[in-house]
């Protein structure tokens, strides 16, 4: 990894603007439904979901419920799944009959999202499930399509897309790296 060359794709301002736009889109499509639930996928998706909730609260005056989900046990590619500790999932009051937006940082193969949708079933029958991601880098392996996208970033498979979040990484940025 020492030879890695990094290129910044989204700056802190880019990310802020994208989040604001996504917030508006979510509100439009859900008609400002007050029982909206944002479910962030561990770990960065959780923080992105919280920021979207903040943003929605600023825009619309109500704060959607934010839940957390670690769908690792539902994955079909467990070599990724078993690599690190499982994190708790928590969706206050469940999702029965409510519109849910799954929130994650990067959409790639789609396998995480498939797992997340299955894991979500344990929390009730959502009235609809949508997907919001900060970055869509392509290379889908399943028929999954995001409803809200911060930025489409076509990539090669050998490239690495890294989303940095202040809450975890100390700053906000989306960076493209390549190992050579």
């Amino acid at each position: 990894m020492t030879n890695e060359i990094e290129r910044v794709l989204l700056t802190q301002d880019d990310i802020r603007r994208a989040m604001t736009r996504i917030s508006h889109e979510i509100l439009e499509q859900n008609r400002a439904s007050s029982d909206l639930v944002l479910v962030g996928l561990q770990t960065r998706g959780v923080h992105i979901a919280k920021r979207l909730a903040d943003s929605i609260e600023r825009i619309e005056g109500f704060r959607p419920v934010v839940g957390t989900l670690d769908p690792r046990l539902w994955r079909d590619d467990p070599e990724v799944a078993s690599g690190q500790p499982l994190l708790p999932s928590d969706i206050p009051e469940g999702v029965d009959g409510k519109p849910v937006v799954i929130v994650d940082d990067v959409l790639y193969t789609g396998r995480t999202i498939r797992a997340a949708m299955e894991a979500l079933l344990d929390f009730g029958r959502a009235s609809r499930i949508q997907l919001a991601v900060l970055v869509d880098r392509g290379h889908r392996e399943l028929p999954i399509r995001p409803d809200f996208i911060g930025k489409n970033i076509p990539t090669a498979r050998g490239e690495r897309v890294q989303v940095r979040i202040t809450e975890i990484d100390g700053d906000d940025a989306v960076v493209l790296g390549r190992e050579d």
Partner: protein
């Protein structure tokens, strides 16, 4: 027990976010035989996972597909309903098929038969063997004769690593960082696999462990009133002169089951005298720190090593220990048996992955 370095190939920052240190490539662990070969980091990873597992185990619908298609066999050569059921439940919540084999050590009296039993099971393509056996080292022996992951559910008087993990988990949930905390273990140290594993485990987490028991129930080479040196393998362990000294200012008091056999073998004059001199009761708990936890690995002899009053009192976390047992064993089974773990090394580009 995890291999964090390549787990999420495109997103190394996650590792630090979760407090996982990057120590280079480590081969995935196949067995859990004791905690002595786990680093504090690995133990913390397991406990972190148990946190997530505890949430799942507490759901109304607690079935996950994580180990779907995996076969786990619990092989108990000693009776232990609570440990066996705990493993069984853990395996089932994770979606594995769990088969219970109970065999008395007498019907499998010779190692040849134990070997044959293991080889027979091995031929049925099992993924994990959870073994309880009255002989120390039995799970180590079995691990040399099977491709399955072996989990030591108690071997003789040697080790009981999942009990220690659940004890650590319980304590961590209450007092967080264990550095410098005082853990008092009172009971049969000589014959107790729980004592042995827990001494190593709590020391590994930075706690200061003191034991107290009759001089007949510690190894001959140990001396009451001393602190063990590193050459003993239990360096830093304090051997209290009496129970009050052990319990004094303790943050955790753990009473161990005392067996009737110890009296019969002459280790004790009587259980009554044991209760009088080493039993944990309200008076003795009062010597511990305010809010100290009272633990017992179960099953309890109430009135002998622990009084009913404190066993069911406010400081007792005995039931919590049992509840945590399932979550901890889920974390262990998942970490050892998750499909594909053997391909984890070097997978960074061949598999999908910047989705956390």
């Amino acid at each position: 027990m995890t291999n964090p370095t390549t787990a999420v190939g495109n997103n190394p920052a996650i590792e630090t976010a979760n407090g996982i240190s990057d120590e280079g490539l480590v081969a995935p662990r196949q067995h859990l035989l004791d905690l002595d070969d786990l680093s504090a980091g690995e133990i913390n990873d397991l406990l972190d996972s148990a946190e997530g597992m505890l949430e799942i185990a507490g759901r109304d619908n607690r079935k996950t597909p994580a180990l779907r298609g995996k076969t786990i066999i619990t092989m108990f050569f000693e009776n232990s309903t609570r440990t066996r059921v705990s493993f069984e439940q853990a395996g089932k919540i994770l979606g594995a098929d769990v088969i219970n084999v109970t065999a008395s050590a007498s019907s499998v009296s010779k190692g040849e038969s134990l070997l044959n039993t293991v080889k027979t099971l091995q031929a049925m393509q099992i993924d994990a063997l959870v073994v309880r056996h009255p002989h120390s080292g039995a799970s180590y022996f079995i691990s040399n004769h099977t491709d399955a992951s072996v989990v030591n559910a108690g071997d003789g008087t040697h080790a009981h690593p999942t009990q220690s993990l659940l004890d650590l988990f319980t304590v961590r949930n209450h007092i967080g960082d264990m550095t410098g905390k005082k853990i008092a273990i009172v009971g049969d140290v000589l014959y107790s696999r729980v004592a042995r594993s827990n001494i190593l485990a709590f020391q590994k987490m930075g706690a200061e462990v003191t034991v107290s028991c009759p001089n007949t129930l510690i190894p001959d080479e140990w001396n009451l009133g001393s602190t063990l040196g590193d050459e003993t393998g239990f360096g830093g362990l304090k051997l209290a002169r009496n129970v009050d000294e052990a319990v004094d200012s303790a943050d955790v008091v753990m009473a161990l089951r005392i067996q009737q056999e110890r009296q019969d073998a002459g280790h004790l004059p009587s259980l009554r005298e044991y209760s009088d001199r080493w039993g944990i009761n309200a008076q003795r708990m009062a010597l511990a720190n305010d809010g100290a936890l009272l633990m017992h690995p179960g099953p309890m002899n109430e009135g002998v090593e622990i009084s009913s009053e404190v066993a069911h009192g406010a400081q007792s976390v005995v039931e919590e220990q049992v509840r945590n047992g399932v979550a901890v064993r889920m974390a262990v089974l998942y970490t050892l048996c998750a499909p594909g773990k053997s391909t984890r090394i070097g997978n960074s580009e061949s598999t999908s992955g910047d989705e956390a």
